[in-house]
């Protein structure tokens, strides 16, 4: 029942918000949401203690019949691939709730949607049945669409609609793949096992895997299906961006590993070289596009496009080290991108702009945002993969695990890693160094005499970012904890692939 309780905690929380009196103060509602999410985090940590890292297969399994005629069973299970992502979801949803401030519009709905997303993401990660996974995968779609549509920026309608269209198409493709599997098999067995694909012809396997690749590729997102992400991030509020980059993109990479590699190892082996090149293109495109941005948030969004490409590279190589790197990359990208979006959010709240042509000298100790700037430097260093941070461990493992299998794609991805340092140093240099100013430098004399009066950042505003920064450093210094949780599962997955090879 442990996994069912994990799903019930945010679901009951979301339902609780529907019966709360509408005149309750938003701050009170925020406190209730935080309390529910703390309980969820504690329960997720309890799962960690109940989890046996030596076992490679599913643990804490639950299985009940639901709609047998459709092949839909209530099947839950957790392994070393999904557990880190469940923990990441619990942590980042809590961060999203904590960093929600000045919410005046429909707070009841807002927090209910946040909790519903958390429930859906948990469900997708622990679902042990294809249709059950899809149910949760689709469930997070509408709440996120509403979160962008109602609490987004000026062009929120455009961004939300684009997000909806892209991710709905993603869901349709994944559903098509699952239904196609049932059609070819001639049964309604949607259980999560490579055995259900072993009697399928290679052509059919390639077709089904292609559907999954594009479907999850939209969600990750991989070039050229990425264009919804920068728009969604730019228009979404900071907490929604944290969820989107930190957790929801991981549904795509998780789905690719779990259903693509896990169920179609034969077809995967055929497509892997093309995927490696695709990953390199995605990494390079994301990095070059990030360099060209002047909006800080779009820059971080494009960096996500690039960094998620590493996961595809690792998945294509599918060696034990590379797959461990993929898990590390998913977790570290979740933490680092959430950290960067939080900090960009603070900068935007204090200065009213994210424009790199406008912001200057925010590291100023007297009138700027020195602590925010310090954390930003740490965040971009981690994203660029500097030793001592989570980014280094994950990139090192991905590259180390992939270089022998796909040397060219790995080398190109390494160039992308170098480009991360380029665009993030541009960001730090433009926005945080120099003389403090937040106006276009059209008149140098006037510029020198500007008296900038930013409101200071209270310590409580930086606590979520500080917690994420500590997590990024902790994983960088002590990666063994996360590695031991995921090693058995990734090892088994690699063995499955190696058996094919």
């Amino acid at each position: 029942m442990m996994l069912s309780i994990l799903l019930l905690i945010p679901l009951v929380g979301a339902l609780l918000f529907l019966i709360l009196p509408s005149n309750l103060a938003p701050t009170r509602m925020r406190s209730i949401a935080i309390a529910v999410l703390v309980v969820q985090l504690i329960w997720s940590l309890r799962l960690l203690f109940a989890f046996d890292p030596e076992i490679s297969g599913m643990q804490l399994q639950e299985s009940y019949s639901w709609v047998e005629k459709l092949g839909l069973r209530y099947e839950l299970g957790i392994d070393g691939l999904s557990l880190p992502l469940v923990l990441l979801n619990a942590a980042l949803t809590l961060v999203a709730a904590v960093c929600t401030r000045e919410l005046s519009e429909r707070p009841r709905l807002y927090f209910a949607l946040i909790l519903l997303i958390s429930c859906a993401v948990n469900g997708a990660f622990v679902a042990n049945n294809l249709l059950f996974f899809l149910l949760f995968y689709e469930l997070e779609l509408i709440p996120l669409w509403l979160l962008i549509l109602i609490w987004g920026g000026v062009q929120r309608v455009y961004a939300a609609t684009k997000f909806l269209l892209f991710t709905a198409l993603s869901g349709v493709l994944i559903l098509a793949a699952f239904l196609g599997l049932a059609l070819i098999n001639g049964s309604v067995d949607f259980s999560l096992s490579p055995l259900i694909t072993e009697n399928i012809s290679m052509t059919s396997q390639l077709l089904l895997l292609g559907c999954l690749l594009v479907g999850f590729g939209i969600k990750i997102p991989l070039v050229p299906f990425h264009s919804w992400l920068p728009d969604a991030h730019t228009q979404a509020s900071t907490p929604v961006s944290v969820l989107l980059a930190g957790v929801l993109l991981k549904l795509g990479t998780y789905g690719l590993l779990r259903f693509g590699l896990g169920m179609f190892p034969d077809a995967w082996a055929l497509l892997a070289p093309a995927m490696a090149i695709w990953a390199a293109i995605s990494v390079l495109y994301g990095s070059f596009a990030a360099i060209a941005q002047r909006d800080m948030k779009r820059m971080v969004a494009f960096s996500s496009v690039g960094h998620m490409g590493y996961v595809l590279l690792a998945a294509a190589a599918a060696t034990p080290v590379a797959l461990t790197g993929a898990v590390f990359q998913m977790v570290s990208h979740g933490l680092i991108s959430a950290l960067l979006f939080l900090l960009v959010g603070i900068v935007y709240r204090k200065t009213g702009t994210r424009d790199l042509e406008v912001l200057r000298g925010l590291l100023n100790p007297e009138r700027g945002l020195p602590f925010t700037g310090t954390l930003m430097i740490l965040g971009v260093m981690a994203s660029a993969g500097l030793p001592g941070t989570a980014g280094f461990i994950s990139e090192f493992l991905v590259f180390r695990g992939s270089i022998q299998t796909y040397p060219l794609a790995t080398l190109l991805s390494m160039v992308g890693s170098g480009l991360t340092a380029v665009y993030f140093l541009l960001l730090v240099n433009r926005a945080f160094f120099g003389r403090l100013a937040i106006t276009p430098a059209d008149d140098p004399e006037l510029h020198k005499r500007l008296d900038v009066q930013l409101a200071p950042v209270a310590l409580r505003e930086t606590i979520p970012a500080l917690a994420l920064a500590i997590a990024v450093i902790s994983i960088g210094l002590l990666p063994v904890g996360l590695g031991s949780v995921s090693n058995a599962a990734t090892g088994a997955m690699a063995q499955l692939f190696a058996g094919v090879g």
Binding site: T353, R449, D451
Partner: protein, 379 residues
């Protein structure tokens, strides 16, 4: 282009050189005459006066009691070598006497005025020779002098400048404390009266003699003898204003940065890194604010000014920027008073040649001042 909330950015009006010249000739204060400005200037000068008192005492102590001491480890302790004093010093519970030394070095380096000329005279070198001959009994100095014959003379020049700056600040400290009393009992109630008060104080002390001598083995030796005829205003005050308020020095740590950016003029006279040009926001370049002085003034900030700052921007969070801004306003007032007290001719005169001379004098000052942080002058 995104819309930037206007309350986040303020920009003070920058008066033209013509405007400044007109005000100087009309005896109008450069700083806008407002109640807030009066509080800022009086209170910041009061805290400055208290800091100058400490600086002055220490400079005179260094020049008299640490004269040619090879390793002046305790030069900031004013002779008190108790454990408690040393502990407070190590914990940095103290005034930043280093700032006073920077000002002295700046004066020595820029070297303007009558004292600098005297420090290069034969009479001064003769006095130095007498002192060095006496001091040669010190083994270290006995070795250093033959090896580097100009070294001890240069140390004595530094000691002379140190003592002269100590004497100058003694007068200024008393003047600024008196100004605070005058404002408290209603004798000064506007910026115009404040500038006038400082001008009268400077004029009253203008002819004060500047002299300096040391005791070595019971014998007295003159370094700046009374017969050199050095006086307060012309030989110390004006060179001080030139070196510290106007020229200043590029920040040591960023000399190379500014040099690479072609920002440092080879002509020292064209330097504009002084207090009147300093950017109150520390921004890692030349034209830095006198941050050590800011810290010292913060220790002595009057309650009224502290409360005024509390209501602005970040309260105590950016207090040094606010002190710097108020300090620049105060220094504009002091400069204003110094200019008013040193016009070649009385401003009320009708002689065309005199009017032209005063106009040229005011214009020269206005040209230099208008490059400074004059945006602080507006109300």
């Amino acid at each position: 282009m995104p819309v930037i909330p206007s309350e986040l950015v303020r920009s003070g009006a920058v008066p033209s050189a013509l405007d400044l010249q007109r005000k100087l000739l009309a005896s109008e204060p450069l700083l806008a005459d407002t109640e807030t400005h009066l509080i800022e200037v009086v209170d910041v000068l009061k805290s400055y006066g208290e800091v100058l008192d400490a600086y002055s005492k220490n400079l005179i102590y260094q020049a008299e009691d640490q004269f040619l001491v090879p390793f002046p480890l305790f030069k900031y302790l004013n002779g008190d070598k108790s454990i408690a004093k040393i502990w407070r010093h190590l914990c940095h519970d103290r005034i930043n006497f280093e700032y006073a030394e920077y000002c002295m070095k700046s004066m020595l380096w820029h070297g303007t005025g009558g004292m600098d000329a005297y420090l290069d005279s034969d009479q001064f070198l003769n006095n130095c020779a007498l002192i060095i001959a006496r001091k040669r009994r010190d083994p270290l100095l006995g070795i250093l002098n033959p090896l580097f014959p100009q070294f001890l003379a240069e140390l004595i020049r530094a000691a002379a400048t140190t003592h002269a700056l100590g004497q100058f600040w003694r007068v200024m400290s008393d003047l600024f404390i008196d100004l605070a009393s005058a404002e408290a009992d209603g004798r000064v109630s506007s910026i115009a009266e404040l500038v006038d008060f400082i001008k009268l104080g400077l004029v009253a002390a203008a002819a004060n003699p500047i002299s300096y001598g040391v005791q070595i083995d019971g014998n007295h030796y003159w370094i700046l003898p009374p017969e050199a005829g050095l006086t307060f205003l012309g030989d110390v005050a004006v060179p001080y204003v030139e070196a510290v308020f106007l020229r200043g020095t590029p920040f040591l740590g960023t000399v190379s940065f500014n040099a690479q950016a072609q920002q440092i003029s080879p002509d020292q006279a064209k330097f504009c890194y002084g207090a009147l040009y300093a950017d109150p926001l520390p921004s890692m370049g030349a034209g830095i604010p006198p941050s050590l002085l800011m810290q010292d003034m913060y220790r002595h900030l009057p309650l009224r000014l502290e409360q005024l700052y509390e209501g602005r921007t970040r309260g105590a969070g950016d207090v040094r920027v606010k002190i710097c801004s108020s300090f620049q306003k105060a220094m504009f007032c002091v400069t204003n008073a110094a200019i008013a007290g040193t016009f070649p001719h009385g401003l009320a005169g009708a002689d065309a040649a005199e009017i032209a001379a005063d106009g040229a004098y005011a214009n020269a000052w206005a040209q230099r001042l208008c490059q400074g942080r004059t945006d602080c002058l507006a109300a």
